[in-house]
């Protein structure tokens, strides 16, 4: 009986608040120290990384400069070619006619729709799939009504529309190309031509260098 009392007393000291704080700090220091020492940056990841970015998720500095927010420049380091023909780009929304719409969604900031380490619906978009309705409600009901009875969340999840580049899915493009045969009259890819300088191959200009250690 006496022994049991002593044991429970000891356990209570072990979990006393002071001791618990010191212990948890010590564990945190060791944990962080080990992570740095072993270069295991993945422990700092606040959530699941999107498909693609996951390949370099341990390279924090690829996107983050200390604790500054991620800017468009960060994204454009890699995504500039895809954004070259951005239909929803700066040119459109700096125009006073459309500038007001930026209050609905800040479309000129990549992270307004693409927030990393959060749940994403598809294509790295973490806003609800009906995001187009922030500006285009009239398409499914009201004045335009060209897509009456369509669901508000199907514009891009259904595979029809691409927010940044709709060159090949716009009404104009489809009208122009409607009723084309399944195979075009002149099916052809751009041809690659290799221009050579010599007619016959010369002699190799390095040889013994490859055998250095043997000789």
């Amino acid at each position: 009986m006496a022994r049991n009392v002593r044991r429970s007393f000891r356990l209570s000291t072990l979990f006393s608040s002071k001791f618990a704080i010191i212990l948890s700090m010590l564990i945190a220091v060791i944990w962080l120290g080990t992570a740095f020492a072993l270069d295991r940056h993945d422990i700092f990841l606040p959530g699941e990384t999107s498909n693609g970015h996951v390949l370099f998720e341990t390279s924090c500095k690829s996107c983050h400069e200390s604790f500054k927010p991620v800017s468009n420049d960060t994204c454009n380091r890699c995504h500039e070619p895809e954004m070259a023909k951005d239909i929803h780009g700066a040119k459109k929304f700096r125009d006073p006619r459309w500038a007001e719409l930026r209050e609905n969604i800040d479309v000129l900031t990549c992270t307004a729709c693409h927030r990393e380490h959060e749940h994403m619906f598809d294509r790295g978009v973490n806003l609800q799939p009906d995001l187009c309705m922030a500006c285009h409600q009239g398409v499914i009901e009201g004045d335009l009504a060209s897509h009456n009875s369509f669901k508000p969340d199907g514009c891009w999840t259904g595979g029809c529309h691409n927010f940044h580049d709709h060159r090949s899915i716009s009404t104009g493009f489809i009208r122009k190309n409607l009723d084309q045969p399944w195979i075009l009259p002149n099916p052809e890819l751009p041809n690659r031509v290799v221009e050579t300088i010599l007619e016959t191959a010369p002699d190799a200009d390095l040889n013994k260098e490859f055998l250095v250690e043997e000789g």
Binding site: S59, P81, G159, I174, Q180, L184, T196, E214
Partner: protein, 268 residues
């Protein structure tokens, strides 16, 4: 005393082993140069002599010698390729294949992939000569065979029995896929016209998502818009590597047809 000597010897052995590992890691050339035999060298020379590189005056020293110091380089990196193939390397580094290298991490290996990969390829590191044989510079091989060294998902495995592969086979072995060939590279590393030159976009992710990008960039070089969209948005057909004509009819086209009717009705 003897024990002490033994201990000293073992320390020395450990130190020299560490030194050897250290130097071979900073000078990998030493280890590689010792591995090339006379016979292998002759084989490589022959491969190179029948390559486009030889006829374009790209000799051994172009890649295997540092331009400034004239020091021998046993294993050239993508930096060496970049001195001529700048666009290819730059675009490669932006796709999934190259992004880890761009970000200063170890190169991508199939072991890191989410798609099914071949077991014996899991440790291959992605760089230029993973797909391109650097001495033959044969892009015919790089357009399909290299992909299938690693990729083992159904879409990739079904390529060989697809109508696209049939077209490619009929053309036969050329130095490089011509404008009629449809290979893995045709769709996934699309050719882009830039002024007078035709470049190959080596960003393997570029045409993947959204799928309409592939339609505009690639499919519509040969196929009509309806056939292209009805095919590419059919997951089963994509998995079968377009083995049959599409059966789905996307509503988009009906909408545009209705619009056309409405407009022409108004006009009359």
């Amino acid at each position: 005393m003897r024990d002490k000597d033994k201990r000293v010897n073992s320390y020395l052995a450990v130190i020299s082993l560490c030194l050897l590992m250290f130097f071979s890691s900073i000078f990998p050339d030493l280890a590689l140069a010792a591995n090339v035999s006379q016979a292998e060298l002759q084989k490589i020379e022959k491969q190179w002599q029948t390559s486009a590189h030889a006829l374009a005056e790209v000799n051994c020293s172009s890649c295997h010698q540092n331009e400034e110091t004239k020091a021998f380089v046993a294993k050239p990196t993508e930096e060496s390729c970049k001195s001529c193939h700048e666009n290819s390397v730059d675009t490669f580094l932006l796709g999934k294949h190259g992004i880890r290298t761009l970000e200063g991490l170890s190169p991508l290996t199939p072991a890191m992939a989410h798609l099914p990969m071949k077991d014996d390829s899991l440790n291959r590191q992605m760089n230029c000569n993973t797909c391109h044989d650097e001495h033959t510079a044969n892009t015919y091989q790089a357009s399909v065979d290299s992909c299938l060294t690693c990729h083992a998902d159904n879409h990739s495995l079904n390529y060989q029995s697809s109508p696209h592969a049939e077209v490619f086979r009929k053309i036969g072995t050329l130095a490089r896929p011509n404008s009629d060939s449809v290979t893995c590279a045709t769709c996934h590393l699309p050719r882009t016209v830039s002024g007078d030159t035709v470049l190959v976009n080596h960003n393997n992710t570029y045409t993947l998502k959204p799928r309409d990008r592939m339609v505009k960039e690639v499919c519509m070089n040969c196929h009509g818009v309806e056939h292209s969209y009805n095919s590419i948005f059919d997951d089963e057909l994509v998995e079968a590597n377009f083995a049959r004509p599409p059966t789905q009819k996307l509503q988009t086209f009906q909408l545009v047809r209705d619009l056309e009717k409405k407009r022409s009705g108004k006009g009359s």
